[in-house]
């Protein structure tokens, strides 16, 4: 192996090609100036212009962004509190921990049906933003709890004792020591919650109301009804760009914090955070 490094290079190229060729093709075709999806005749931004002239697309994009941001804030707040709650020993802690991570393994189709039944038939929440928000908070909460809990569990309790020893009341100690130390995990949890919500089709498709369609559901419906059109391709490219931007921003922030802490730091480094991150989707 070491004598033939090009073999490794070829394999790596094949894997990355397999992963990124469809997305690269998608991005390329979105700038095509003809309707063809198989032949690039020239470059233009006409599909994007058309896209932004379409009120339905703008509505769906607006709803998706609002929904993703709101559900990320709510899920992160509840999830962080839950992660700290699970730090203390109390009867049934094990059961609560399992219950909080169960939605990670429940099939989304099932979750959608359950939420539809519960929200609409039982709780009387009308379809649309409210129902979507409840659903998105429900399924992203587990991710936030898992990510933040890993960080909280790794906290040295002596640090909080040291803060108390130096005169910090519990509230001040939390604000000045505990929270800054778990902040990277909270940010990662929030980014995950945002992306999970922004990308979700299955659960959302059950709960969208008239005039309140999320962007992924809109794309799915359009593609299903009329086939893949250049507008849809442009829209899909845009969604990939938004998701990638959130992810890259997260990685950069973690890398920046790690460098600021120390070149050799193992404590605030990115390794621990990324190691405990579940893979989304």
């Amino acid at each position: 192996m070491s004598r033939r490094p090009w073999v490794l290079g070829v394999v790596a190229a094949l894997v990355f090609g397999f992963l990124y060729a469809p997305i690269g093709w998608l991005a390329l075709v979105s700038f095509n100036d003809s309707r063809s999806l198989s032949r690039v005749t020239g470059l233009s931004t006409r599909w994007y212009v058309e896209l932004f002239g379409d009120a339905r697309v703008l509505d769906a994009l607006g709803l998706s962004l609002r929904l993703a941001a709101t559900s990320a804030v709510v899920a992160t707040a509840i999830g962080t509190l839950a992660a700290f709650g699970l730090r203390r020993a109390f009867p049934g802690r094990g059961a609560w921990t399992v219950l909080l991570s169960l939605p990670l393994v429940v099939p989304e189709v099932v979750l959608g049906v359950a939420l539809l039944g519960f929200c609409v038939k039982l709780a009387g929440i009308p379809l649309g933003f409210g129902a979507l928000l409840a659903a998105h908070v429900a399924f992203s909460l587990s991710f936030v709890v898992v990510v933040v809990r890993a960080r909280v569990a790794g906290l040295d309790p002596r640090l909080e004792e040291a803060a108390a020893d130096l005169g910090a009341s519990p509230l001040v100690a939390f604000r000045t020591v505990t929270l800054p130390l778990v902040a990277p995990a909270v940010a990662a949890g929030a980014a995950f919650a945002f992306l999970l919500s922004f990308d979700d089709v299955v659960t959302s498709s059950y709960l969208t109301g008239v005039g309140s369609t999320t962007l992924p559901v809109f794309v799915y419906a359009q593609a299903g009804r009329r086939g893949v059109s250049p507008e849809i391709v442009a829209l899909s490219t845009l969604m990939v760009a938004v998701s990638a931007a959130v992810l890259i921003a997260g990685v950069l922030v973690v890398a920046w914090r790690a460098r600021r802490a120390s070149p050799a730091s193992t404590f605030v480094g990115s390794g621990r955070d990324q190691g405990t991150r579940p893979t989304g989707g």
């Binding site: 002596r158 640090l159 108390a164 020893d165 130096l166 005169g167 910090a168």
Partner: protein, 391 residues
């Protein structure tokens, strides 16, 4: 347990304040019971202002629990903890004028050295120029002013330890607690920081309560030492008291190397207790106010460096305790040579001989040898490890 009187002979001149300020820390019958064991058992202790006081004991003896109760992290099951005469049991740690140097340092990894040291000062509401001055002074005190902008992870273990000391002292405590602060450092660094700690304590004058399992560290650093065993205080005194006149077999064995002989009281001769032990002639110990009775089973101990080795032909000084045995091991250790001698009755005695003469003068394995020591150095102990003698 009675405390040693404060007056009297104390060779470490200048280390001890002539007259101690009023009691700063008072522990009264402090006890801590966990579900299955008693970690601290009825500890009564007084620590004076400006003292460097050490609690010395093996791991698991309860010394860290004692420290955590004074800091406020644990509440005693029974007893009072007084700081400046005020009972602080139930007062949370953040309202006590006590700061801790943790064994693991517990520096805040997300804050710079400067911000770490400033943490406790800020909590007192100090801001602006005064804050800068206090932090600057304490960074200078531990000689880390050049590292103010670094993160803890960018410092060596010894430097981190000094940040921890500066951080705790900057908060301006009445009492500084140190929990095995040098435990994680290598031998050379330990020695360096010991001297550093002594300098700092003399400079700031804050009362130090130092917990360690390292007997040499405790003897070198402290004004007074409390030896702790199985949750109880075995002895409290000046370093030389604890070393030269151990109160129990445990203390004698834990601090330094001790020769212990089982003996029986056969009488009192003036200020001497006359003892019977197999193979020893003229075994005597100073009475030192002990209350003993004829025929009582006791133990006698003598430090190895007090024991002289003689050829069988030599006559030891009159009135000395004398014992004949066979050399089993000779261990050369640079400054001194250690002789392990088998004595009648199955015991073994150790003698340290300063290497001021040529080596191998005093004997080699298998050779019969005579051991002798001044009876003033014999110390009387109870026959069981924890038992002291009545005074």
């Amino acid at each position: 347990m009675t405390e040693q009187p404060v007056t009297g002979f104390h060779p470490a001149e200048g280390r001890t304040p002539d007259t101690f300020a009023p009691v700063e820390v008072g522990l009264h019958g402090v006890t801590k019971r966990f579900a299955d064991q008693t970690a601290v058992d009825d500890v009564t202790l007084r620590i004076h202002e400006g003292e460097f006081f050490s609690v010395l004991g093996p791991s698991g003896c309860g010394k860290t629990t004692l420290l955590r109760m004074i800091a406020g992290f644990e509440d005693p099951t029974a007893g009072r903890i007084e700081l400046d005469g005020v009972d602080v049991v139930g007062v949370p740690p953040y309202r006590r004028d006590v700061n801790t140097v943790f064994q693991s340092y517990a520096l805040f990894p997300h804050l710079s050295v400067w911000d770490n040291v400033a943490y406790g000062v800020k909590r007192k509401g100090v801001r602006g120029a005064r804050l800068k001055q206090v932090v600057g002074e304490h960074l200078e005190l531990v000689r880390l002013d050049r590292y103010a902008k670094r993160r803890p992870a960018q410092l060596s273990g010894g430097q981190q330890q000094r940040v921890a000391i500066a951080r705790a002292l900057a908060a301006g405590p009445r009492l500084l607690l140190l929990d095995e602060p040098l435990g994680a450092l290598d031998a050379v660094l330990r020695k360096e920081l010991q001297i550093e700690l002594m300098r700092i304590q003399r400079e700031v004058g804050t009362t130090f309560l130092y917990v360690t399992h390292d007997q040499e560290e405790a003897l070198v650093l402290s004004h007074r030492v409390a030896v702790m065993n199985a949750g109880r205080l075995a002895q409290v005194g000046y370093p030389e008291d604890v070393y030269e006149r151990p109160a129990t077999r445990f203390v004698a064995g834990f601090i330094g190397t001790s020769n212990i002989l089982d003996a029986e009281v056969s009488g009192v001769d003036g200020r001497w207790v006359v003892l019977d032990a197999p193979g020893v002639t003229g075994l005597r110990a100073p009475l030192n106010g002990h209350v003993i009775r004829h025929g009582q089973r006791v133990a006698a101990t003598v430090r190895p460096e007090k024991v002289h080795l003689h050829d069988l032909a030599d006559e030891p000084p009159t009135g000395w305790c004398v014992l004949t045995g066979t050399v089993r091991d000779v261990v050369y250790a640079g400054v001194s040579t250690q002789y392990v001698v088998d004595v009648p009755g199955g015991a073994e005695l150790v003698a340290f001989v300063q290497n001021t003469h040529r080596v191998a003068d005093a004997g080699s394995p298998g050779q019969p040898v005579r051991m002798a020591w001044d009876p003033d150095f014999t110390v009387l102990l109870g026959s069981t490890p924890r038992e002291g003698l009545d005074d």
